[in-house]
């Protein structure tokens, strides 16, 4: 099942892309597992996700914790802590 992955701010700059469509392996079922899997895709991903603990995630445009399940997810986003206002 292909999902859209979005990257923002310095996560986008480090991965070198704003978004991509990926087919996730069956054993990637949570946000944390997805970050680990992405890190294995290349040095730019390893660099972008080096500090997994500071990266925030959203599934289908809702903030989620890294333990959140990806079941049924269509759009997953990774970004640094927000700094608006």
């Amino acid at each position: 099942m292909p999902v859209k992955i979005l990257y923002f701010a310095w996560v986008r700059e480090k991965t070198g892309k704003a978004e991509e469509i990926l087919d996730l392996p069956a054993n990637v079922t949570t946000v944390a597992e997805l970050m680990v899997w992405l890190k294995g895709r290349g040095p730019e991903y390893a660099e972008a996700f080096a500090r997994e603990d500071v990266i925030r995630a959203a599934v289908d445009r809702n903030h989620v914790k890294s333990t959140a399940t990806l079941s049924g997810a269509r759009e997953i986003a990774f970004f640094p802590p927000v700094t608006g206002g």
Binding site: F8, R61, H63, A77, T83, G84, G85
Partner: protein, 156 residues
Amino acid sequence: MAVRVERADFDVGVEVARLTAGRSDIGAIVTFSGTVRGGSGADAITAMTLEHYPGMTEAELARVEAEAAKRWPLQASLIVHRVGTLKPGDNIVLVVTASAHRQAAFAAAEFLMDYLKTRAPFWKKEMRADGQVRWVAARECDGEAARRWEELPPRG
């Protein structure tokens, strides 16, 4: 209840007039507007670029606004947040709350700003006077400001 994310500048007076036009149920209007700080010395900046997550930003601002409306009797509210490249002194964000009485309008405006700062997916990048470019780091005190509202649950 309305939220807008846009590149264009806003006029506080125009926004308040539009929000309250033809209404006589409002007794208190609070506005907060945030502007770009220029900093000084080593922290001086020449510009700031705001990036956001189109779609989620509007949804998150609407959720924050709905949460405020659950907690206080608001007659009207508005959140406007700018994106793109801004200069020191430029407007960034506007929050307007309107209620029958001032307590609700003051509290709701503060709540909206506190929640917006920790939840709305915006990111600031600073162009510094020394030529460096850096992403602004989140501040722990913003998280604390938002968390203190959790001790005050919504009205039944």
